[in-house]
C-alpha cells in the first residue's frame, strides 16, 4: 500500500504552528497542539460562495437535478421533457425524459442516475439514466411530486414526503430494483428538500409541517424511523439542493417570499452560508458531493442563468474513527 511519502513525495511536516500558503491535500503534525492536521475542502462547515455558471439552453423551473457540479443533469422542469447536461462550463441538450417532468426527485451520477415523483400527483413513474438513454423502471408505490431525495446512487435512493393530492408523509426506499415503503415522516409536507443516504438522511422545510405554519421543520432518518431535528434558520418551501453525505447537505433559495438564503447541514444543525447572488425558487441542483452545487435561477422573467457554489479549502484536524 502506498504511504503518504510515496503519494505526496515528502514526509509529513512536524511543526510548532500551522504553516501558511497551504495547498489542498497537505497534511502536517502540529507539535504544540499534538494534532495531525490537513487542508481540504471537506472539513467542518465549508466556506463557500456563489459565482456565475453557464447559461442553460432552456431555462425552466422545478426540474429534477442530479450528478455533480462538473457532471450534472437537469431533467424536465416547467412541464417539459427537456434534459441538459452540465460540464462545469456549459450546458448541452441531450435525450428527453420519457414523460413530462416537473417537481420530481432524483439522485445518482451523470452516467447512472434515477428520477421519480414527477407531476401530476398520481404519477408513479421512475426512470433511470445511463448517460445516454432513459429507461422506465419499477414504479413508486405512491406517486407524488415535491418530496425530498437522498441516497446518492442509481441503486440506492430515498424519497420522502411530497404531494399525493394531499400532503404526503410517505417515505420509500429504492434498492436498484423496486421501491419499498418504510416508516412515514413525522409530518406530511410538500416542496421539501433533503440529502444523505438511505440509512442517514435529513429532510427540511416545506409546507404543512407541524404546526402547518412551521416551514423551518427538519427531520432526520436513521434507516428505521424519522425523528425531529434542529430546525432551519430560515423557514421556507420550494428549496433546491441536496447532497449524498448525511454530514454535508446544502440547500438554497425557496420561499415565500423567494429568497437567496443558503444553509448547510453538518449532520447536527443547519448553518447559514453566503447567499446566492439572485433569489431563486425550486430549480435544478446537484445531488453528489460535499456541499457543491449548481442551480438555475428562477427569478421572475429569468432565462437560464445559473450559479455555482465554490467551496474554499479549510484547515481541519485529522481524527481516527
Amino acid at each position: 500500500m502506498a504511504d503518504y511519502k510515496e503519494i505526496k513525495g515528502f514526509k509529513i511536516q512536524n511543526v510548532s504552528s500551522d504553516p501558511s500558503n497551504l495547498t489542498g491535500g497537505q497534511i502536517w503534525y502540529n507539535s504544540t497542539s499534538a494534532t495531525l492536521k490537513g487542508y481540504s475542502k471537506a472539513g467542518g462547515i465549508p466556506a463557500g460562495v456563489w459565482s456565475a455558471g453557464g447559461t442553460m439552453n432552456d431555462g425552466r423551473p422545478q426540474g429534477a437535478g442530479f450528478g455533480t457540479l462538473t457532471a450534472g443533469v437537469a431533467a424536465g422542469g416547467g412541464n417539459t421533457l427537456d434534459v441538459e447536461e452540465y460540464n462545469g462550463t456549459s450546458w448541452t441538450s441531450v435525450n428527453d425524459i420519457p414523460g413530462d417532468g416537473d417537481s420530481g426527485g432524483a439522485t445518482g451520477t451523470q452516467t447512472a442516475g434515477i428520477i421519480y415523483g414527477n407531476q401530476p400527483a398520481a404519477n408513479t413513474v421512475s426512470s433511470t439514466y445511463d448517460g445516454t438513454t432513459w429507461t422506465d423502471v419499477n414504479s413508486l408505490t405512491t406517486g407524488r411530486p415535491g418530496g425530498a431525495s437522498a441516497g446518492g446512487f442509481q441503486t440506492s435512493a430515498l424519497y420522502a414526503g411530497g404531494w399525493k393530492g394531499s400532503y404526503a408523509a410517505e417515505c420509500e426506499i429504492w434498492n436498484g430494483t423496486s421501491w419499498t415503503e418504510v416508516a412515514d415522516m413525522l409530518d406530511d409536507r410538500n416542496h421539501i428538500k433533503g440529502g444523505g443516504t438511505v440509512t442517514a438522511a435529513v429532510a427540511a422545510g416545506g409546507y404543512d409541517g407541524s404546526p402547518d405554519t412551521n416551514p423551518t421543520q427538519s427531520e432526520q432518518w436513521n434507516g428505521t424511523c424519522w425523528t425531529e431535528g434542529n430546525n432551519l434558520n430560515n423557514g421556507r418551501a420550494f428549496l433546491t439542493g441536496g447532497g449524498s453525505e448525511f454530514t454535508s447537505v446544502l440547500i438554497f433559495g425557496g420561499g415565500p417570499p423567494i429568497t437567496s438564503n443558503t444553509e448547510f447541514w453538518n449532520g447536527t444543525s443547519w448553518t447559514e452560508m453566503n447567499n446566492l447572488a439572485s433569489i431563486s425558487e425550486s430549480s435544478h441542483g446537484t445531488t453528489q458531493g460535499t456541499g457543491l452545487g449548481t442551480y438555475r435561477a428562477r427569478t421572475p422573467g429569468a432565462a437560464g442563468e445559473t450559479e455555482e457554489w465554490t467551496v474554499d479549502a479549510a484547515t481541519v484536524t485529522v481524527t481516527a474513527s
Binding site: 455558471g53 439572485s278 421572475p300
Partner: protein, 94 residues
C-alpha cells in the same frame, strides 16, 4: 454600506466570479438589474460587464415592472400549475 445600481446582461460562466463575490456585495434582480457594493472592486466589475448605471429609483422601477409581468403570468396559470410555483412579490432594493 453604499451601493451602486446598473443593468448588465448575464452572459453566463464568469459573469461574476467567486473572488468577485468575496471582494464586494453583488445582488442580481429581475430585469438584469444589479446592486453593486460601492468600492473599487465593484467599480471594476461594472466596467467588466459593461454595466449601464442607474439610479436606485430607476433600478427599482425596472424590477417592479418585471415582477408585475411575472405576477400577471402567474395569475394566468391553472390552479394546478400555481401550486407548483411561487407568486413573485415586490420588494425594495437595498
Amino acid at each position: 454600506m453604499a451601493y451602486k445600481y446598473c443593468t448588465a446582461t448575464n452572459w453566463g460562466k464568469d459573469f461574476f466570479t467567486a473572488q468577485e463575490r468575496r471582494d464586494f456585495y453583488l445582488g442580481g434582480h429581475p430585469g438584469q438589474v444589479w446592486v453593486v457594493g460601492d468600492n473599487h472592486f465593484g467599480d471594476s466589475w461594472i466596467s467588466k460587464v459593461s454595466g449601464v448605471s442607474k439610479t436606485q429609483a430607476e433600478a427599482q422601477a425596472i424590477v417592479d415592472g418585471e415582477i408585475e409581468a411575472a405576477q400577471t403570468a402567474y395569475d394566468a396559470l391553472s390552479a394546478e400549475d400555481q401550486a407548483l410555483r411561487l407568486r413573485p412579490v415586490k420588494y425594495n432594493l437595498l
